[in-house]
Symmetry: D3
């Protein structure tokens, strides 16, 4: 298993090459998502099994069934990823949203909101607008 440190290009760890510890996480990802493949994010995190396990446990809990429906959760994930400029995350959570039914029209609206929020966030900060009593 190759090692990585400090931006050195890391090879993906495929299932066939993975340790039992890593395979257990891969198996849970595939079972939870009802899919038969693992995306690159996990194959790179697999160089650090404790982080692989920990981040997956967080994703499984936070993105699992709850008060918000699964599509809304992915839309929120994309909104943050666009704001931060994470190309991989936009692609992966955009794909997840499509798989959960996001239409092109919904995606267009999502991006419009994200763009506009980034604009008005700056206007509110620039003017140091005091929070209205009614919002507290």
């Amino acid at each position: 298993m190759s090692e990585t440190a400090g931006g050195a290009a890391a090879a993906m760890i495929e299932y066939a090459d993975a340790s039992a510890e890593v395979r257990a996480v891969y198996d849970d990802i595939m079972a939870t998502r009802k899919t038969d493949w693992i995306n690159n994010f996990w194959k790179i995190l697999a160089h650090d099994p404790p982080t692989l396990r920990r981040i997956w446990a967080n994703i499984k809990e936070v993105m699992g069934p709850g008060a918000l429906d699964p599509l809304t959760k992915e839309l929120v994930y994309v909104a943050v990823s666009v704001t931060n400029g994470c190309r991989y995350c936009i692609a992966s959570h955009g794909a997840a949203a499509r798989a959960k039914g996001m239409t092109p029209a919904q995606y267009a609206e999502l991006l419009a909101i994200v763009g506009l929020a980034n604009e008005t966030n700056r206007l509110a900060v620039a003017h140091d607008v005091p929070v209205d009593e009614r919002f507290r």
Copy 2:
């Protein structure tokens, strides 16, 4: 009407003191939102009527009826505002989300997703994860 430039504290422009141009926007905000008051963001933007008019027109179009439901739109707005650290925007769009039915459980989940996305965004960027073919 007071003027503002470069961080100088700006007074809010109340309806009673507003020009006809500003009142027309205030009227449209209240009619569109079916409410009888104007929040501080607009009262400060009112020092610059073209921006007041333009930003309101954008908000009205982007946040109006469309492919995403009104609550989802507000959740996305909050997600961006939290990521950018805009205190005013978190409060105002959080209040708008509550008015549209957001429950405390939904808000808790929203923040959990926003936090986690900010975490995994950095891991994906740090590792420069290549986008999977299946996501394209």
Copy 3:
């Protein structure tokens, strides 16, 4: 002279209480800016004289006479500060811009551009727009 570490509230170091090393920087700030007072940013950096000296030397060089006029330089400084949400920097460089002639109309336009750039930045990133040949 009080010490500071890790977010502990730091007292301002006034001229009367400053060491000769710090006074030399304060004197140069006042002479360069043709003013008779020192703003809080420097009075707090003064707890760390090497940083005080270094940052002032950078500001003096970068913001001094050059290819861009002094007002344009302050406008750019404000644009970055609004984007990053630095309240102190918006206020201080906004004041500097006003002192160099910025009108309320110019400030309004500046903020409009900053807001809009923050919006279109996200749209360009979200769509991963390839750079046009003509721009290279």
Copy 4:
């Protein structure tokens, strides 16, 4: 006309393939900018005509003649884009600035200011510097 959602690679919509609605915007962009071509940003936004129309209307109003000269406006746009790390926007607005007369010396100064502002923004925030009375 191809569709796009969630990070899926989108084809550019060329003038020859565009709907009448999209062509009308393209025509206005070329007429306003006194040019005969359309850059990729618009060709991708064209998948969502309402956003294409809306964003162009904003750009036309905000970047048009006003209190700030056209070159200063582009410099501010580049400053925000560098701060946010938007590669496309740096390239496109950098090209626009060059077309409006920006010299290499001015660009070098612009980047120096943007870099330094990003540095001092963090120092001001880290020290939680209180805003001077004189700046209010």
Copy 5:
């Protein structure tokens, strides 16, 4: 126990008022940190016990004994918090770093590095510097 949603001001949940589930986390925080009090971050997260439990479990694992010494870990935490402008996080992790031995001179150097990295990050992005072969 009070509820919170969307920016509404939340009361802190003190130990005396906490549920058994929340007390169990508070107890583990105090035992792990060998302290007898709970800071505000946890008292507010306590409105959402699953998030309280989850975030504490992550902090306990990531900030616990490992390959990096405890002080270095806090310095890194402060560096991120300053970059993001999180006032609370700068104060809390700054205090944690002081408790672990950070001197004022070390804190001054930390902030100098954070500021400078924020500057050179923008220069590298603005120039789209290609990664050297030797760094791969």
Copy 6:
């Protein structure tokens, strides 16, 4: 010597093609770092000799011997660069950290802290957590 402005692709300035002014900086970089090559960041900044000289002087002072050990300084630099998404800076300072002894286990922990800090920063901001008296 080629010129650059506004995102136009810049050629690297190699030692053989450099002016005496630029060579003096290159010589100091190599002597200080006890190395025989110059990385791309400096070769591009060399188009603007005053910035090359100024930024190097800052790096030399801030990253030189001091209260924090050299490896810790690089870890902090990487933490900021990951948070800002600067691919070049992650690679170059990651390589510098490896050269100073960073192990893969330390790098994994560093990234885990950076990710988690980005998460909790947003939770603290979203809840507008008041700073504890004990942290002041």
